[in-house]
């Protein structure tokens, strides 16, 4: 469980996050949704420590991340896996070396054990046998899956995914979403996904935080968001013609 208390952040005097309070629950896919530029990524980057929050506290299972020094944070970070928007694979390393990297860096596992764990992670994301490919030889979807394999290599307690479906076709997006959901439930991870993709919201949104103008605007789940009466959420959910059409069809039937 990750608890955010009264979190604020500003850049060059301009406040982008206003006193956010939220709990990201364990064993659930927690979504942070909202329009572009509303502070979703800033919130996630504050939580993992890539940005320093101006005020507030971040608790990883009651451990206060904001008060930790560099080495204590480094220990917590070994429990965090992160999938970046563009996968952020190390382009000088093969697929296998990317997944092996955190294991070689932070564990005392033998070469054979590392190989077994790497093969397991790659198999888990349906990339068995693709060990020797370079990231540049992988498609966007494959890169994302390698990113997930790398993120889960250390058996993380917390998984962060920054727009995991950006740049992917709808079918591949569903594959990635399912993978994130299955891994979360299988290993009881606290997963935080930043997205503005309504398909992902409906597919994996166990617990949803809606951010608007840097403030916590609404929270709920994939069932309650459909009927939320809040105008900002409504305009977000039914922004596409496709969703509008579904709503009108449903209303007609009703």
């Amino acid at each position: 469980m990750i608890e955010v208390q009264q979190l604020s952040k500003s850049f060059n005097g301009q406040k982008v996050l206003f006193d956010i309070d939220h709990i990201f629950e364990e064993g659930k896919v927690n979504l942070i949704i909202g329009q572009s530029g509303q502070g979703k990524s800033v919130l996630a980057k504050c939580i993992v420590g890539l940005y320093e929050a101006d005020a507030g506290q971040i608790l990883f299972d009651q451990r206060n991340f904001t008060q930790m020094d560099r080495s204590e944070r480094s220990n917590i970070r070994q429990e965090i896996g992160m999938l970046f928007q563009a996968a952020a694979l190390f382009d000088s390393m093969t697929v296998e070396q990317n997944v092996m990297f955190p294991l070689q860096m932070f564990t005392n596992m033998t070469k054979a054990e590392i190989q077994v764990r790497t093969d397991f992670c790659l198999e888990r994301v349906n990339l068995a046998g693709r060990n020797k490919l370079m990231p540049s030889e992988c498609s966007g979807g494959m890169q994302k899956r390698v990113g997930i394999a790398r993120a889960i290599a250390m058996n993380p307690r917390y998984l962060f995914c920054d727009e995991p479906n950006s740049g992917l076709d709808p079918k591949t997006s569903i594959v990635i979403d399912k993978l994130i959901r299955d891994i979360t439930h299988e290993y009881n991870i606290t997963t935080v996904v930043i997205t503005h993709d309504m398909n992902s919201v409906m597919e994996i949104g166990d617990h949803i935080l809606f951010i608007h103008q840097g403030k916590k605007w609404w929270e709920g789940n994939r069932h309650s968001i459909i009927n939320a009466s809040n105008p900002e959420i409504e305009s977000f959910v039914y922004a596409s013609s496709f969703m509008k059409e579904i709503r009108s069809q449903l209303q007609k039937k009703a």
């Binding site: 563009a86 952020a88 382009d91 932070f106």
Partner: protein
Amino acid sequence: MLGVVFARPNRWRFFWKHTLLEIEQIGINSLPIVALMSTFMGAVIALQTASSMESPLLPDYTVGFITQSSTILEFSPTIISLILAGKVGSNVASEIGTMRVTEQIDALEIMGVNSLNFLVLPKITAAFVFFPVLVIFSMALSMLGGWLALLVSDLTTTEIYILGVRSFFNPFHITYALSKTLVFGFLIVSISSFFGYYVKGGSLDVGKASTQAVVSSSVAILIANFILTQLMLLS
């Protein structure tokens, strides 16, 4: 920044592996350009000196002596470092800058890796180890280039040139040249890493950071050269 760079590496095995790769990338791969530059530089110094020797009071071996002293004192350590500031500096800044804009540095940080230490320390170590080798290599080739140029132009004999090269040789000049090289190597890698590491934006900004790294490293080399000469040769 430097305090974090010089922290203890997470894994020494990774550190040595990366240092060897950097020696290859910023050291061994620079050998061809250093060889080319040094040979022609030595040749031109020798020819220019020979063409200026009009006074009959100057001994014939002056050409060899001037080639030796100007190569050791200035041309090899400073000019080669300026060349390396262009080649290595832009390479380091663009490599680290690209890692920054593609979030690879964020990925390292999230894993708990000290990214500055992981990326920059092997480069600085490689520069410390291999830049002196490059400069010694450059000195030898420069003097060889001078000899070849004089031989082809029939301006002096091998014996007289070698006599000049060996005349008034001061071993401290080698210490001075290598000390300068170490400082220049550190400046090139640390300044270029700084510009690459703190780049913000996209590929265009990586290009700008790369240019800034080369310009700043070159200016830093010139200033450091002046200060070190004052301190080591005139104090």
